[in-house]
Amino acid sequence: MTDSYPSEPQATDRAAASDPPPRRPGRVLVVDDELGMREGCRRILEPEGHAVTVAESAEEALAMFTPGSQDLALVDLRMPGMSGIELLGRLRDLDPDLICVMITAYATLETAVQATKSGAYDYLAKPFTPDELVLAVNKALERHWLLIEAAQLREQAERNLLLINTEQSRTRTIIQSMADGVLVTNREGNIVLYNPSLLRLLGIKGGVPALGEPPSPELFPRELLEWMAQAWVDDGVTMVAHELPGGPPNLAANIAPIRDEAGEQLGVVTVLRDITELKSLQQAMSDFVSMVAHELRSPLGAISQYLDVLKAGIVTDPEKEKQIITRCRERTGALSQLVRDLLDFSVIQRRGQVDRSVAPLNLAEVITETVEFMAPQAAEKKVSVSAELPDDLPQIEADRAELSRLFTNLLNNAIKYNRERGSVRISAHPTDGYLAVEVTDTGLGISRSALARLGEAFFRVKTPQTAQITGTGLGLSICKQIIAAHEGHLEVESEEGKGSTFRVLLPRKGAVG
């Protein structure tokens, strides 16, 4: 009983069930116009385990028959209406796997030939003993199982061949379409395969490499050929991503021996990869690190210098001493801010769209909060900050924490680079497809040449007025990244000595209201 299995039947049980035992029961259709024959067959075959269905005419049999519903048909040759021979033909048309045994009244050579010709596997002459019936049925069923099994095997083999064919052409297509260059040489060192990317990466335009010949030194960089030879000699040392000297720039070669199942070396596969992108990333990283080092060095140098001065007892005036300590404190504060900015910078860069918690946002709320947060700093510098936010400001889809950081940085700059008793105005209004937020200050202004570099990491506007103002040169860079992540734009207008306006445009797409 399959119901008794808690979940699925175990694989071994399944295998055993499909393995045909010699006396495997079958489904037998008995077609005979004589009731006695039909019932006699049923009474003999059912105790043997077979499932017996009966029909009293060919027409009835056809009406109830569906392909796959029976394993064996036991058909009387002579019946009123459609004959047994015709029924047999029709049944086998419907189900070629069905095996048939004819029941004939007289065991003559003629009837035997006739039955076999019509596709019957065997015949049984009336009258027959129960044993003869059981024997004939079992023999026919065995044949039936065998035929089915053979058909299954054949089908499986065909499917395998089909798979192999597709696999080969698929592999070929993949290799041909790869962006990496592939070159395969055999144990004689002759080329057996290469792809178009190999030619492209090596800049081979004229003569193409000949299959069955060694790669020619005219077409291939000398170092590459040496490495391939080395991979063979070294008994299978895989060379990973060596940058190829001598050849076209920014190519890395990955060379590996090909081995068969027994471990014998059959050839060498070389993969060439364009690492331009990787190298420019490395360069960018190295530039960034040296910029960070530079930014750390200046404040550390200044602090150390002050400490040396204090230690040497050069300064005797307590007021001056206090000034020095205050400046040291300010510079360490700036260093801490630099570390915070660096962390923000890396987090925002690393963040994918997925990590961003973008939700409908009330911008006026975020701006009001930011203005309140910046109030103490503004008061210290005696700068007045005002916000102009219409009540019906549409919501936008944005990350709240990031926008809060964006406006904090912009307001921080507007206050920091302002004149004493200056003012900062932050306003928001909808424009074509965007929501514009403007931060206007009455500060130092930015020269045209400095405007072009604004937002570059670590770039700071250097003028005698800004020399005392501490900053990391990352604030606007972070702003730009946040704006870019929201698919917005930053516009800056500035006049030296008068002030600047930073305009952030955030798209209203997908916005509600």
């Binding site: 080092a293 060095r297 140098g301 210098q305 002050y306």
Partner: protein, 137 residues
Amino acid sequence: MAQGKRVLLVDDDVDFLNAVRLTLESAGYDVLSAHTAKDAIALLRQAPVQVAILDLMMEEPDSGIAVAHFLRRQPEMQGIPVILATAVTEKTGFRVSLDDPDDRDWLKVDAWVDKPVNPELLLKVVERLRKERQSGS
């Protein structure tokens, strides 16, 4: 302040400048300070100095080297001793040896000090160069 004890100090960091200025002033020097090479050259045109202390790497192209070379091109300033203040990392990246007289000649400097500058050492070097200059001229 005695004209014989005037020093030019050039560095782009306002606090470093202030700290070194305090050091030099404590020894009785009159200090002219500038953040950029441009400002430094403008100051040099106005008032003669006895010693120049320059930061090696300021914002390009206003490097300390530019000031040193400017000094060497002016007949009346050629003899002003130049001290270069450098951070250790700068020296290794610079690929010149400041111990090598030829390199020092190329750099147009007479002495160098490491940043952060040891106040006592700086004063010694400044004093030595100033005296050499006096006895030489």
